[in-house]
Amino acid sequence: MILPVTDLPPVSTDPAATRPELAALRAAVRSHDWPAVSAFLGGLDDPDDHSFVVRFVGEIGGSEDFLRTVVGQAPGATLPMTLLAARLIELGWEARSGYGAEHVSQVQFRAFHEYLRQAERLLIEVTAREPADTSAWTMRLLTTRGLELGQSEARRRYDHAARHAPHSFGTQAQILQQLCPKWGGTWEDAHAFARECALAAPEGSLSGALVATWHLERWLSMDRAEANRYIVQAHVRAEVAEAAARSVDHPAFRRAGYRAAYALNTFAMATALHGDQTAAARYFHMIGAEATALPWSYHGNDNVTSFLWFRKNARAKG
């Protein structure tokens, strides 16, 4: 769905602002309409769309009571457990706050871990019942990080997910975080993983954005002067361009997919930082109003402000 530029709704990081069906889903969750929720998720064939919507439901404040009720009414049903786990993970991060570990109190950490343990307990059961449930395996990559279960366990979970959905961008983006040094990995491993996924994925798929994400992660890890020098290097630009050509710039790219916006936003930020405002402007055009919190949160506290600032620059120069 690409709207004409003139009719753009205001830029928002809320996917429901640009996707009416997600607004309807949110309303269904809020009105405790389980058949509608279940039917909507049941209709999603693409594993990336499915895992995206699972997290979307998890972000709906207060949905935990409703989801607990549904879990209680249908013991062993995997979808309610997965959605409740998504909600618990979200609650966990809310309890923890997004600050660095040194700013998080013991009480906050305890609450965080308790939510994640409850989520993990549900997800273990889901994957035991449905080993092909990519969304549950993807969520288990989040609990791996929060509960600090380690690199080898993250890799094992990813391998399970990839066995059934080998090119799921959402899953790959999760383990890419784990493979970065901040979660105990190395830049080399993370880079190799991103490039491998990008090259192995069918043309037009989103996995190419992992390469851009990796460069943004590196950029973020450096001090400002070093970062500015790093991101404009020719080989960095070439790698991102190569990845984009196989991904969002390829004719087979599916803009309608729920995770497409995240890939586009990532390429927009990377190319804007390269100084390639023409490419950035093109991506901003494809994005329309559908901003995503990541990668803009890498830049500043207000994601929409960062988005608009970068877009203004790109439009002026590109």
């Binding site: 993990e120 994957t127 080993p131 080898s152």
Partner: protein
């Protein structure tokens, strides 16, 4: 067909075999019947009973298990007659002059033995009692005298508490089992040290062990077989995380069976090994039983029933069932039960197996996310009594009370005297108490500020049956108190109680206030209000200021 007869009042089982004759004499006694303070007594009796056979050529052995002790051998008919007759004669007339030598041999045996990976499971599941005693060393050996081993043999190694099996069509001529009269002893009721299950605790860092107790049944043995195949496939063949990965099934002798599963891993694979292990447990728990695993497990079990001399092969198991009071079934009945096992039956076992599970995770890992709760590592409360401060850890206190002892750090470890499984008494004054719940308290008098007689309440209250007088320790094994405990020994910053912080802040405020007052008084005194009263009040406030300041310094240095 297994033929049942009797030799000198001992139930005897016969079945023919083509090779050399074999025989075994079971007694319904094992480590689970002991107490911690007298642990090792069964093993010691077994060793003493075999001593007179030490120089013979034939193959014989004795094994002390959890609920049975087994004397078995292979050889000619006359060897077997000599062996069994001799064992029984020794049991009624133990060579107690060998007592100290055999104790030494047992200690050497224990020192040279490799510890099984699942050895500590019993301690956590049962505590320092019955089936839990296999986790402990034979702590009771120093306390055992000639009368103790004789009394143990007379009470447990009796003809009414024994079953004999022999591979042959008839009892060998001349066989005599001259045992004392006694009673058949029931298998002890298993205790529990786990307030909630499934539970986990941290063990060594390279291995995961899961064990569980389920009702003994064909379905339970099939569950163990399916679990074995799942673990091997998932952790070794597919994941490559483990070298060893598998499960085993062992009847406990009381209508229940213990299923034990084990996996190992290299350091960099431990997280994945544990994760994969838990996922396998959960896969079976939710009822995903692979049809081919069930079929393969059944086929393997059926192979056993096709052994050419099956009856003879079954004799030891048959005898053990008989001596522990467990039912024996015909081969046809056993095969029928095995073949009737459905995936739903295995699922039902898997649910109970998980509910009763105990997991040992690699050090530094947990299993809370998989539905396991941490097994208790401390006591829930401490006793009241006299407190003694540690010379090593300022946050550590020893409390010796009328009802028990507590060693209190962040959390207490408490052993109540009426729940004390063993009290080791060392000539140098050290005391080591073991509670029935598996919690222990070691008191090293050199590391505490103890007045003379401070430990007397312990010795007075613990019953003699729980006391083990220990031999003197080499001087090097007695800890030496540090010279400057607070600075040199403490490595972890001490947690500062909140009241100390409040007091410190308050004292600083008082110091500042008094300091200001002193200055004010001094100034006004100098400015021309001479007189003794002025100087006195100035000095007084000054002294108070110095006192408050000294308090600040003291509290600050304590941190």
């Amino acid at each position: 067909m297994i033929h049942e007869t009797e030799v000198d009042g001992v139930p005897t089982l016969l079945a023919p075999i083509s090779g050399p004759m074999q025989a075994g004499l079971f007694f319904r006694v094992g480590t689970a019947d002991e107490t911690l303070a007298r642990s090792g007594v069964t093993h010691l009796v077994e060793h003493l009973a075999l001593h007179r056979h030490g120089q013979t050529d034939y193959h014989f052995n004795g094994t002390t298990g959890g609920v049975v002790t087994h004397f078995h051998m292979q050889g000619s008919e006359s060897d077997i007659v000599a062996y069994l007759t001799g064992v029984c004669e020794s049991l009624t007339d133990l060579p107690v002059e060998r007592l100290e030598t055999e104790k030494e041999i047992l200690r050497t045996e224990a020192a040279g033995r490799n510890r099984a990976v699942n050895e500590s499971m019993g301690l956590w599941r049962y505590g320092a009692r019955d089936h839990g005693l296999r986790s402990y060393q034979e702590l009771g050996l120093p306390a055992l005298g000639a009368d103790d081993v004789r009394a143990w043999a007379d009470a447990w190694f009796t003809r009414d508490n024994a079953v004999l099996w022999i591979t042959g069509n008839a009892v060998p001529a001349g066989l005599k089992l001259r045992l004392r009269e006694g009673v058949r002893r029931p298998v002890p009721v298993a205790s529990s040290a786990l307030p909630a299950t499934p539970a986990y605790f941290a063990g060594p860092d390279n291995v995961v062990v899961f064990d569980t107790v389920v009702e003994r049944s064909a379905a339970a043995s099939v569950y163990a077989g399916v679990l074995d195949r799942e673990l091997f496939r998932s952790l070794r063949q597919e994941g490559g995380y483990s070298y060893t990965a598998g499960a085993a099934y062992d009847p406990r002798g009381d209508g229940h069976a213990v299923v034990t599963a084990v996996a190992d891993a290299l350091p960099e694979k431990r997280g994945a090994m544990l994760g994969g292990f838990l996922d396998v447990l959960w896969k079976l728990r939710v009822g995903r039983i692979e049809a081919e695993d069930l079929a393969a497990t059944r086929t393997k079990a059926e192979e056993y029933f096709q052994l050419p001399e099956l009856d003879a092969a079954r004799l030891p198991t048959y005898a053990m069932n008989l001596v522990t009071g467990q039912p024996n079934h015909t081969v046809d009945e056993l095969l029928a039960e095995l073949r009737a096992v459905t995936p739903a039956d295995v699922h039902a076992v898997a649910e109970r197996a998980m509910d009763a599970g105990l997991l040992m995770v690699p050090h530094g890992h947990g299993a809370d996310g998989a539905g396991f709760v941490a097994a208790p590592t401390h006591s829930t409360g401490k006793v009241s009594g006299r407190s003694h401060r540690s010379l090593v850890e300022t946050s550590e206190t020893l409390v010796v009370g009328g009802a028990g002892v507590s060693l209190v750090r962040e959390q207490p470890s408490t052993v109540r005297y009426d729940e004390c499984a063993a009290l080791l008494v060392y000539p140098d004054g050290a005391r080591h108490l073991f509670g029935h719940d598996g919690i222990s308290v070691r008191i090293e008098p050199t590391l505490f500020t103890l007045a003379p007689g401070a430990l007397a309440p312990i010795d007075a209250a613990v019953p003699a049956s729980a006391v083990v007088p220990m031999p003197a320790r080499p001087a090097g094994n007695i800890p030496i108190p540090p010279d400057r405990p607070r600075e040199t020994v403490r490595t972890v910053p001490r947690a500062v109680p909140y009241w100390e912080t409040l007091l410190l802040v308050g004292l600083i405020l008082v110091t500042l206030t008094l300091g200001a007052l002193t200055l004010g008084a001094l100034v006004s005194t100098l400015e021309g209000e001479p007189g003794a009263a002025g100087w006195v009040s100035t000095s007084l406030v000054g002294v108070l200021t110095l006192g408050a300041f000294a308090g600040c310094v003291f509290l600050y240095r304590r941190r």
